[in-house]
Every structure is written in C-alpha cells, then in structure tokens.
Amino acid sequence: MIGRATRRRRLTPYYFAAPAVIYLFGMWIYPLIYSVNLSLHQTEIYQLMTGGSFVGLGNFGELFQYNRFWNSLRVTGILTGVCVGTEFLLGLGLAILLNTAIVARRVFRAIAIIPLMLTPVVLGTDFKIMFNYLYGVVNWALTTVGLQPVQWLSNSFWAMVSVMITEIWNQSSFVALILLAGLQSIPTELYESAFVDGANNFRIFWSIRLPLILPMIFVAVFWRTIAVFRIFDVPYIVTSGGPVFSTEALSLLVNDIGYQAGQMGLAAALSLIMIVAMIAFALIYNRFFRFENE
C-alpha cells in the first residue's frame, strides 16, 4: 500500500516537467505527423491541399540515390566538425581571458557579445561584402601585401572557408559565454588553496578548473553541434549553397527541394532524416557525456 505522501513524492517530478509536456504536445506533434505523412507521398507543391500519391518509402529511396543528398551530408559534416571544434577552442580561450581580472573587464565582456547580436541577414551580408572577389576588403588587403586575391565565394574550397569563418566569428562568443558562466561559478576556495600550495596557473587550470566546467563544455559542444547541423541562414546569405552546391548544407537542400523545386514530399522526407540523425546523435552523446554526476 503506497501512502499518500509517498505517492505525491513519486509524482512530484512529473509536475515539474508538466509545463514542458503541455508545450510538447501542443506545438510539435501535429507538425511532426504532418511531415511524416507528407514524406510518404509524392507531393508536388500544387498538390499540398489535395495530397499526392502514396509512395511509401519511395521518397527516402530517391534521396539515397540523389547525389546532392550525399553532397550535403558531406558539407554539413565538415561544417559541423570544423566549426564546433574551432568555436570550442576559441570560446574556451576567450572565456579564460575574460575570467581573469583585467582592466576594463566589463567593457570587454560586452564587446565579446557583439558578434552574437548581428541578425543572420546582416551578418551574412556584411561578410559577403567583405569577401567579394573584385571589391571586397579582404582581397584588397591580400593584394596590398602582395598575395593573390582569393575567390572566397566562388571556389568550392574557399566558399566553405568563408562560411566557416562567418559562423565561427559569430558564435564563438556563445561558447565563451557558457564556459565563462561555468568558470565563474567555481568557488574560489577550491583554487585558493592550490595557489597557497604553490601550483602554477596552468596546473590549476588543468586539474581544477577544467574538470569542473566539463559539464558546461559538454553542453556547449552539444548545442553547437545541433545548431551547425541545422545551419541555414549563414550559408544561404553568404554563398547560397556555394558554387554548384559545394556549401549546400542539409537545411538548404530541404529548402531548395521543397520551396524552389516544389517537391514537398521529398523535402519532408529529408527533414525527417535530419531529425532522426540529430536525435541519434543526442542519444549517443548523452550516453557518453552525462550531464549529471550520476
């Protein structure tokens, strides 16, 4: 016989999660069902209301044979790996710098947030102007020091670099902010005693600070990975999928298939593949990098 008090205690955690569950069902389930349904039909854009013919897993099969699908997987993979890795390193460095007592610390912290504040269109346009081959300031700087101008936006390799530079410049502060919050909530006593014991800065960092902010690092890396996997605005504005799809990330392909070429069923199928991939990643990630100290 479970007493009333025990039962209430068992149910308490659910009450804490109740708001989230309400939103979940309200906002997400119907669009998901709609997308799944759409992905099982061959639906052209003019058939959205009447519905297309049922093709089962045909859309998925078509995707797996589509070279642009594999291309965008490759592009997205490279973008995610390089951007997240670089943002982590730069973010960590920035967080450490901001954490130390320096002159005008406050102002500097505010400056570090500025890149995050630019809306994607502004960000993309700004970098697009800077990277232009004929009149961009970057090429002008290169030629002034005697180097050759680079086709930042029209060469498959450099277009990727341009997109990555834009995204990294924009989001490193995101990582820095999280890590900084982590560093700042480390109680000072923990390393004060280490100082007294004669440890140098590097040891303190490695043995004390780093392990303590590990959860934050996991969160930041996780979040950025998901975000870059879904990236749309930056490549869309800066290179629009690059010279012949060399910067076409998955989200751009979804948009192109769906709203440009009008193949709504195919686009829905691709979206589902993306969702499944991200969830799989989340599950695997959670298995290896626990968020709680359990």
């Binding site: 955690p13 804490f16 999660a17 989230a20 939103y23 979940l24 906002m27 997400w28 119907y30 669009p31 998901l32 997308s35 959205l48 406050r106 500097f108 505010a110 570090a112 947030i113 500025i114 890149p115 504040m117 630019l118 809306t119 994607p120 269109v121 502004v122 346009t125 102007i129 800077m130 232009n132 004929l134 009149y135 300031v137 002008w140 995101f174 902010l177 999280i178 900084l180 919050a181 700042q184 909530s185 109680p187 000072t188 303590l212 959860p215 934050m216 969160v219 998901i226 879904r230 749309f232 605005d233 998955l250 989200s251 979206s271 969702i275 969830i279 989340a282 968020f291 709680e292 100290n293």
Partner: protein, 261 residues
C-alpha cells in the same frame, strides 16, 4: 593578444557601420574608400520610412516573452530532470530535444495551419509560441548542466531548516544559479531576436520583427546593402547595452557562487 582579439571582433562591425553610411555607388570601388562624405540616406529610410522602431519593439516583445516562457518552463523541466529519478526521464529529455531539432522549414506550414485554427495566425502571439519551441529546450538542456553541479545537500539543508522544497529552491539554489540563468537568458533572447524563418511566415505587415524587415532589403531587383548595414548598426546598439548591464550580474555571480561545502 587582447588587442588582436578586439580587432578581430570589431573589424566586421566597423565594416558594417561603414557600409551603412557609405554612398551606395561607392560600395564596389577599389581600393575601398575610407574617406567619403557620410550618406545618412540609408539610416534615414530605415529609421523613418520603414518604421524601424515598430519592428524593433515587435522583436523585443517577442524575444522577452519567448525567453520568459523558455526560462520558466525550462527551469522547471530541468529541475525535474536533474533532481529526480523516474521512469520515462530519458524519453522526456529526448522529446524535449526533439522540439528543437526539427528544422523550421518542415514546421512552418503545419504550424501556420494550427495557428489559423486557433485564430492566432498573423499574430505576434503565434510567433512567441513558435519561438518557445527553441527557447524551452535550450533553457532545459542548458540549466540541466548548471543544476547538476549544485549539490543537492544545499536544498536539503534548507528543508531541515524548515523551508519546503520550493522555498529551498528560491532561497538557496536560484542565487547560486544566477550566472547560469543569466547565460541562458541571454542566449535564448538572442535566438529569438535573430530568428527569421518563423517570423517571416507567422507575421506580416507592421507586426513583423527586425530580421524580416532587414531581409526585405534583399529584393529581386536590388540588394539595398546600405539599408541592411544601417539596420544592422541600429540593431546592435540595444542588445549591446542589455549585455553590458547584464554581465554585471555575471560578475556578481562570482561572489555569490561561494559554496561552503
């Protein structure tokens, strides 16, 4: 070292401001013109003619609302996920994540239809709810990390002292979590502030947010670089101030974060 970082951060912004006040025809000139008579035409159009302030306040209302909802719901969910063990916990956390990973492109049409049925279509409220789709998971997963670091003993000690659980949370845990909460708040705010795809589909006319207004400067027949840059420059200012005011709390978190274990 510091100077280099400031330069890297500041240069694209400097270029942005320059583009905002550059006479349009000078944009493509090489070498880049540094001496020119500033042309405030673009700024004037953005501010006066295109009702910059209107869209700015729309963005602000939406971002503040979405952040608040995200924080409240997210904090409760994160607390529940962090502090308790119960069945379905893994499933719940994954489901919460699913909210975020769905590509907006796939969601906009069905979401719009839902909002139409509810009578919210075209309303700023629909945008707030749509943004909650990412602020809630963002807050949840962000706060989980911070809450997990906080030893449970703290709140349990408070319970012994006579508070109930909620009071324990409010009096002990929240102040300690302040840096985390502030960080989450800033990030959720930025997400909502910068969102484009939901804003453009779910709102129209004078209800739209800043990103939509700015994206409108890329047209079929022309790209109004100057106006984009002008709007971008005007946009940076308030979040800059917001971040400036807020990071004081980040600093205070340092002293408040002292935990006597």
């Amino acid at each position: 070292m510091l100077g280099l970082i400031v330069l890297i951060i500041a240069f694209p912004v400097f270029w942005l401001v320059r583009t905002a006040i550059l006479p349009g025809s000078d944009l493509a000139l090489l070498p880049p013109v540094l001496r020119f008579t500033p042309d405030l035409h673009a700024l004037r159009i953005v501010f006066v003619h295109d009702q910059f302030l209107q869209h700015f306040f729309n963005s602000l209302i939406v971002a503040v609302s979405a952040t608040t909802i995200g924080l409240c719901v997210g904090f409760s969910a994160a607390y529940g996920l962090s502090r308790f063990r119960y069945h379905g916990k893994a499933l719940l956390s994954v489901l919460i994540l699913c909210l975020y990973v769905t590509p907006p492109i796939a969601m906009i049409l069905p979401l719009y239809v839902i909002f139409q049925h509810v009578g919210l279509a075209g309303n700023v409220g629909s945008l707030v709810l749509a943004h909650s789709i990412f602020t809630v998971p963002l807050s949840t997963w962000m706060m989980r990390g911070f809450i997990a670091r906080l030893p449970v003993e703290m709140e349990e000690a408070a319970t012994i002292d006579g508070c109930n659980r909620v009071q324990g949370i409010i009096r002990i845990a929240l102040p300690l979590l302040r840096p985390g909460i502030v960080a989450t708040m800033v990030l959720a705010f930025i997400y909502s502030w910068n969102d484009f795809i939901y804003a453009v589909i779910l709102t129209s006319g004078s209800d739209t947010t800043l990103p939509v207004m700015i994206a409108g400067y890329i047209t079929n027949k022309a790209t109004y670089w100057g106006r984009i840059a002008a709007a971008g420059t005007l946009v940076i200012a308030p979040p800059f101030i917001f971040g400036f005011l807020v990071q004081r709390h980040l600093a205070e978190g340092l002293s408040a974060g002292a935990v006597k274990s």
